[in-house]
């Protein structure tokens, strides 16, 4: 470019085309143009469709589990089937749904748009990551057909090396899915480093992107360890190498260390992107500058860092040394601090705001409610002496559902509603959106609050049968889960309705300030028809809207052109 050596940049405002005839949706036609697209937006939608499919499958399995637990003895399936169902529920929800959910679906779609790029750095690698994901999913499916897996999603040895079910194909599926996750993370890091538009310094990056950046770093650093762990596990079953199985001279606790060294950071792969969405939602619907931008941005990185040092808190009663338990417990509490900082900053953002309780904001508030409970109960089980009592009980089940579902899934739903107009160009029905949010919020609490009580009372997890005293609470929880299912059906109905019959969405229905709203809804094939130039932060609601639509002006243009320093210090 001719002006690349100059210190000044000529910019002007680019008005938005509210009725784009040409969008990424109709840029090319046919099923193949979707399956082999390198457009990050289409890949984002492919991922979105896939994760919703697996969420549906995992959810149906969950309802089966809850139905079985209506009575203390056998209700609808036998013990082996029950064990397979809870293993599949866990494995599908974690590896096929929640890990790719926000980053690969919403992140893929919006990360390049939010930095004003035309695409991610490696579009073909991006497509490959989706195909690898599908390939991994097929492997998982193959394992289900050939005898399923009954180890729990944690694959603890030596049970996993001795059980008669098809553990090898499931571990290979996890190995392959890990690859897909690494490629997404790699792509995001490079994109954020190299493809930001002029003026988009790190301090002007939307917080969603900071959270995706932290997530990508964890994906890069943790996933390879999972890969080698499941590879060793597969080899243990195929060749009988004795790394983990004590009957072959191995050490089962070593497996747990290896496994949690990945799987604890993986928890942050699941939740940190949710933090990013909540930051966007709260600022946008309070129409106010985010409070404590750097505190929120850096706390994501802090969580990513500390998250690598706390894996042993899954193993307080595993037989690891007492000293390690104490150290891990101590470090674990320090994850609570940056998490608390985020919550306080979000609440402070609402102070003196102009709060509009649109559906996405309701989800953000539901997130604050549920995730705070999830976080505080995390403090509870981080305490050593209580952990001994609560470990492997329903308290743990309730805790991680409050964090993963009450946190990540609720935030993802908030993000889905927030960006739905941008992705599809259609508006959903606000009334049904709010009602459904209420249904999901209440039924979620109905499902999982009783599990805290059961767990405190000592009800162990992964129990097919249980002692009679827990039946009342189990039944309450099961009814809650049915209502939760109804909530998701309602959502599917009004969202599908909006696709076909919904009114056309304006380019910026929420008056948001970040870059993805500064192009048409749905966006054009290249996101922007110009090179955007960023003058203000993504939450500068006090600056006039037109200053957010600046782009590099051509040499020949003269009116309305402003000259600015290219790299403001």
């Amino acid at each position: 470019m001719a002006d690349s050596s100059q210190k000044t940049l000529r910019i002007r405002e680019f008005p938005i085309d509210e009725n784009p005839g040409h969008t990424y949706l109709n840029h090319e036609k046919g099923i193949l143009s979707w399956l082999f697209t390198v457009d990050h937006k289409r890949i984002g939608l492919l991922y979105l469709g896939s994760v919703i499919l697996f969420f549906f499958v995992g959810g149906m399995l969950a309802l089966l589990l809850r139905t079985e637990l209506l009575t203390p003895a056998q209700s609808i399936v036998d013990a082996d089937t029950y064990n397979q169902i809870f293993t599949l529920h866990g494995a599908i929800m974690i590896f096929l749904f929640i890990i790719p959910s926000i980053p690969a679906a919403l992140g893929n779609f919006f990360l390049p748009m939010m930095i004003g790029a035309k695409d991610v750095a490696f579009p073909r690698l991006n497509l490959a990551s989706w195909w690898i994901y599908i390939f991994g999913a097929l492997f998982a499916l193959y394992s289900i057909i050939t005898g399923a897996v009954d180890t729990g999603w944690t694959f603890y040895t030596p049970y996993s090396t001795q059980t008669g079910t098809s553990v090898v194909s499931m571990t290979l599926a996890v190995f392959i899915l890990g690859f897909s996750s690494i490629l997404t993370g790699l792509n995001f890091i490079v994109t954020l480093h190299k493809l930001r538009s002029p003026g988009l310094s790190w301090s002007k990056m939307p917080l969603f992107l900071w959270s995706l950046y932290a997530t990508a770093v964890i994906q890069i650093l943790a996933t390879p360890i999972l890969a080698i762990t499941v590879l060793l596990l597969a080899m243990e079953r195929i060749l009988g190498i004795g790394i983990f199985d004590p009957s072959l001279g191995g050490d089962p606790v070593l497996f747990q260390h290896f496994f949690w060294f990945y799987s604890h950071p993986a928890v942050y792969i699941m939740i940190v992107p949710a933090f990013g969405i909540i930051s966007e939602l709260i600022s946008t619907y309070s129409r106010k500058t985010i409070f404590g931008y750097w505190a929120i941005a850096l706390s994501s990185l802090a969580i990513a860092f500390i998250g690598f040092l706390v894996w042993g808190h899954h193993m307080f009663v595993s037989g690891q040394s007492e000293l390690s338990s104490v150290v891990f417990s101590f470090l674990t509490f320090f994850v609570g601090v940056p998490t608390g900082i985020k919550i306080f900053n979000w609440v402070a953002t609402m102070y003196k705001g102009s709060i509009d309780l649109k559906t996405p904001m309701l989800y953000a508030l539901a997130f604050l409610f549920l995730f705070t409970i999830g976080g505080l109960t995390g403090i509870m089980i981080g305490a050593l002496s209580i952990n001994v009592h609560l470990h492997d009980t329903y308290y743990i089940v309730a805790h991680f559902h409050y964090v993963m579902m009450g946190g990540t899934v609720i935030a993802m739903l908030g993000g889905l509603h927030h960006w739905w107009p941008k992705m599809t160009g259609k508006m959903y029905n606000e009334f049904w959106g709010r009602i459904t949010c209420g249904v999901i919020f209440l039924s979620f609490n109905m499902t999982f609050l009783p599990q805290f009580i059961m767990g405190s009372q000592g009800m162990p997890r992964r129990y097919f049968n249980y002692v009679d005293q827990f039946q009342g609470l189990h039944q309450f929880s099961t009814i809650g889960s049915y209502l939760l299912g109804v909530g998701f059906v309602m959502m599917a109905v009004y969202l599908l309705w909006s696709l076909f019959k919904g009114p056309k969405a304006p380019s910026n229905p929420w008056k948001a300030r970040s870059l993805e709203w500064m192009t048409s809804s749905p966006p054009t094939h290249h996101n922007f028809e110009y090179t955007p130039v960023i003058l203000h932060g993504p939450y500068d609601h006090h600056k006039p809207m037109k200053e957010f639509r600046m782009g590099v002006a051509e040499e020949s243009e003269s009116p309305d052109v402003i000259e600015i320093d290219k790299d403001p210090a």
């Binding site: 509490f333 305490a383 209580i386 009372q457 000592g458 002692v467 500068d540």
Partner: protein, 314 residues
Amino acid sequence: MNRIIEYMLPPQRSTTASDVDSLFTFINVSGFILFMGIMITILIFVIKYRRKSEDDVTPVITHNSILEVAWTVIPIILILIVFSWGFRGYLTLTSPPANAYEIHVSAASWLWQFQYEGGGSTMNEVYVPVDRPVKFIMSSEDVIHSLAIPDFRIKMDVLPNRYTTTWFQATETGESILYCTEYCGTGHSEMLATVHVLSAEDFEEWLETGLEVDEDMPLADVGEQTFTSAGCNACHSLDGTDRVGPSLLNLFGSDRELVDGSVVVADEDYIRRSLIDPQAEVTAGYPANMPSYSGRLNERQIDGLIAFIKELQD
């Protein structure tokens, strides 16, 4: 509040339980206050600062150092309290007194066996004295199990090829439930045992007599008792339904097709061999995962089981 906490927790039946419960209560109460504080603030903000018009102008507040420091430092203080409290309790939980009464626990899929100092053992039932520290020295014969007694607030994984320990001192006599809390396969949720806490005298008396077998009991009754106490019921039904293993109904005298294709008749000797070395002759269609009862059952119990199974004909 107290009533809620009491409802949430199982009864306190060990010396260490009350400390754990106090910390549980402390975190619940302080957490609840914090939670309500946040929620009420949000509620006030949502009502007070709801959008009045599309042209609302909001102030630019980027940060506030005092607030930021406050909500960093205060949580740090709170978590340090919780950490050191939990740490102290954990030290107690992991340091059995030197004079503890020792019981060796052996876990197998899916039963618990308890061996007492003076010799003798029980299965899926454990008898312990009240007001005296009891230490479990535990190991597993196959996969990882975990021994949990909620009433005592204790839990410890039971590993193959190594020993782990846990201890408690019961404060009242009675029965408590013992769970396996590390997932171990089909019979995981059936892997329960009962803890009988006896007074010092009763315990001594039980050690003298309880381990002896009642010579007068009919053999089939001994077998029926053993069927539940040894955990056979986790995998074998009495009514013809398939569980992990074949049902015992009509078993005696039937032809058993084994995994290697050969056929044997289920006579007394076969049942005996199946108890001592279960993996040698596995019935086709069932997994080879029954633990060996060699050394776990005495002769009379084996005879009893055979007599019991003989009677199961319809």
